[in-house]
Symmetry: C3
Subunit: 316 residues, 3 copies
Amino acid sequence: MKKFTSVQDVADLNGLVKEALHLKENPYQYKKLGENKTLGLIFLNPSLRTRLSTQKAALNLGMNVMVMNLDKEGWALETQDGAVMNGTTVEHIKEAAAVMGQYCDILGIRSFPKLQNREEDYSEDLLQQFISYSKAPIVSLESATRHPLQSLADLLTINENSPAGKRPKVVLTWAPHVKAIPQCVANSFAEWMGQADVDLVITHPEGYELSEEFTAGATVTTDQQEALERADFVYVKNWSSYQDYGKVLTDGKGWMLTDEKLEATHNAKVMHCLPVRRNVELSDEILDGACSLVLEQANNRTYAAQAVLKQMLESL
Amino acid sequence: MKKFTSVQDVADLNGLVKEALHLKENPYQYKKLGENKTLGLIFLNPSLRTRLSTQKAALNLGMNVMVMNLDKEGWALETQDGAVMNGTTVEHIKEAAAVMGQYCDILGIRSFPKLQNREEDYSEDLLQQFISYSKAPIVSLESATRHPLQSLADLLTINENSPAGKRPKVVLTWAPHVKAIPQCVANSFAEWMGQADVDLVITHPEGYELSEEFTAGATVTTDQQEALERADFVYVKNWSSYQDYGKVLTDGKGWMLTDEKLEATHNAKVMHCLPVRRNVELSDEILDGACSLVLEQANNRTYAAQAVLKQMLESL
Amino acid sequence: MKKFTSVQDVADLNGLVKEALHLKENPYQYKKLGENKTLGLIFLNPSLRTRLSTQKAALNLGMNVMVMNLDKEGWALETQDGAVMNGTTVEHIKEAAAVMGQYCDILGIRSFPKLQNREEDYSEDLLQQFISYSKAPIVSLESATRHPLQSLADLLTINENSPAGKRPKVVLTWAPHVKAIPQCVANSFAEWMGQADVDLVITHPEGYELSEEFTAGATVTTDQQEALERADFVYVKNWSSYQDYGKVLTDGKGWMLTDEKLEATHNAKVMHCLPVRRNVELSDEILDGACSLVLEQANNRTYAAQAVLKQMLESL
């Protein structure tokens, strides 16, 4: 694997899932593979789960890890081609990416969207330039439009918890939030579920339609309760509008998931990528109850990252 | 050992001290013990000695270490049970602690008191919630009311420098400072000395009485010179008022420790946990002189942490 | 080697260059050397290349690395001897350096000049105090007046790219910038070239003369085009005035290096330490063209650092 930025980068999705579950059984069995190999983790935004789970995954494989908060410890990056750099940016991504690629065998990078200009965000300019200018394989640690390590961990979790002998019904439901949140996790989840052996239903208030490039094959409805009927998994997530880009269109009162709403489901398991705003997106009763898979999703982040890193190490 | 937050968590204090001094002789003899084990160090406040010595201790045991400045690199934590998280906190400690405990075999956490509400600080809410919600063993890297790794290092240092065949007299003396400082180090030192084979005298200006839960067995006086009489060790430390909580009651002129004051002692060794405000808490002449143990205390931080981590690794 | 702060600390320059090139061929051949040894990297300023390449170098030698952003994660340092520390500084360098030297076998430190007081900056007070108070060997990661790891990497790069059988002509040319930049890289490059088998010409606008302590043996001219004549290497760098200390005296229009100017050279290779302001210091055409060595310089940072660390480890 040369890059891991979306489900399209995965040649064999079932194989990758199996790899991850195999690593989960014995995380240390490939410690020789990463010997003398270095993973560089570049953060332009905060991170807890991704930071720690990806480090852990690399250490499990015997790699060295160098973490850099580029926004705080390094220099402001220029991404414009041909820019006359007489402003506030100190280093062009051409040099920064190339240099970091020389020091590291694999690079991970996190860069959030600004939510101001849809075309700019959806061009994935920064991520694409990293790929172009760095010779090292690149793992997205969440980019402007996707969060593939999260989606792989989500798929592992669904796999482990699916009712036997049945194609599960998975519902992605929009939830309220207090600020404008990227579409990344929702886009990415929809895109991965589209490749998985599940029935996906997406529900959200009007105006929150995701870009169709991610939702192919899914049923989309604005009726949350109808969507939840006989669901096996309910994935809760807020996102800001894609149409009226980056905007919060409604306070969403009534969309918070509660035990009462879950009654219509098929004893559904509840998922969220974390961090979660308790009692805004999801009620305490669900998060603290038996149907919550949120901690197991977070736990699976390690093995998702480890499977990706393993395949990259094997193709170095 | 399942947690290390105060001297009460130590089943055999003499054994732990012996362990640490044994590790100091040959720090690398247990490098197999930490293989494939990860220590997570979570900082909500600045740290130099604790950060580096605890990392070093873990590396000496063959562990991997992941360091996270949660205040800067992660998300603002909610600690209130039942909170409707529509404000500035992004993640509840229930999730954060549980997730980090999944990625790490042992967690260390530093969180200072706010010095605004005594009950809140002395409830050690954040530390207790970390313990409750994380399944990993927890090491306090300084909490709202205690600094146990410092106290263990202090006890090692006293052990190594005690006059032969004598129960030493140890004086904890308040010192001036320019701002309001937590009571942690003083509380903790008093509490540990209470379990050690020493005579403890505590001296401070009126109004600086520590909570009695820490000072049992100690002689307390507001006469600094009387306290210093024939002392073998003088531990210098500022703290803000416990009674008039978090307040600075006096500029403390006259309480700075000097060579002249030390004349009354039994050639006392002088201790301080660092960082120290030179010529405010302690004079240059003492810090640069032969009686200062401050660097040796800092050095012993490594072996204190290593002994604790070793016992935790053994009980995983 | 006990310290590495300037070319004067290198007993055998040719030997050090050979060592570095030897390590570049097989970076992992001395992994036993660094076993149980710890490198501490202390940053008081941002860093990308130095941070990552020095970490990488240490990992290649089997060392452990602890990185500390002292400005953000630790305490504000006092450097004044005899200071009454009742202001904003929290810890004296006497303690900080001594303590970090206890936890680490080798320390690297980065501290930029303030460009306000020439005497203060050129006294290298902070670096000298680190050396005095820490017992560990010290590597400069760029100090107020020099950047020796960069200069060693530059020398390696010149060595690898020199025309056969010829003493190369090396030109250090001043370039425009948008803000006041230290003289470190220019000073250091001049100083190292003065010890190397090259002819050095330095060119800059009037008022930008470097201190003569660094430029001994070099030809200095304010005529850039004359300087470039038949050059084999052109090293591009901005610096603020040494005479009118820290000031920007001219916008330098006309000093940016372009392909046109390079025509007078002997197919010169172009060098820059990075980060570079594109189309201000250097044109895109050069940076993206075949004559640029900037990425190779950055790559050689690893082996420069590794050679220095290796010699330090050998003399522990």
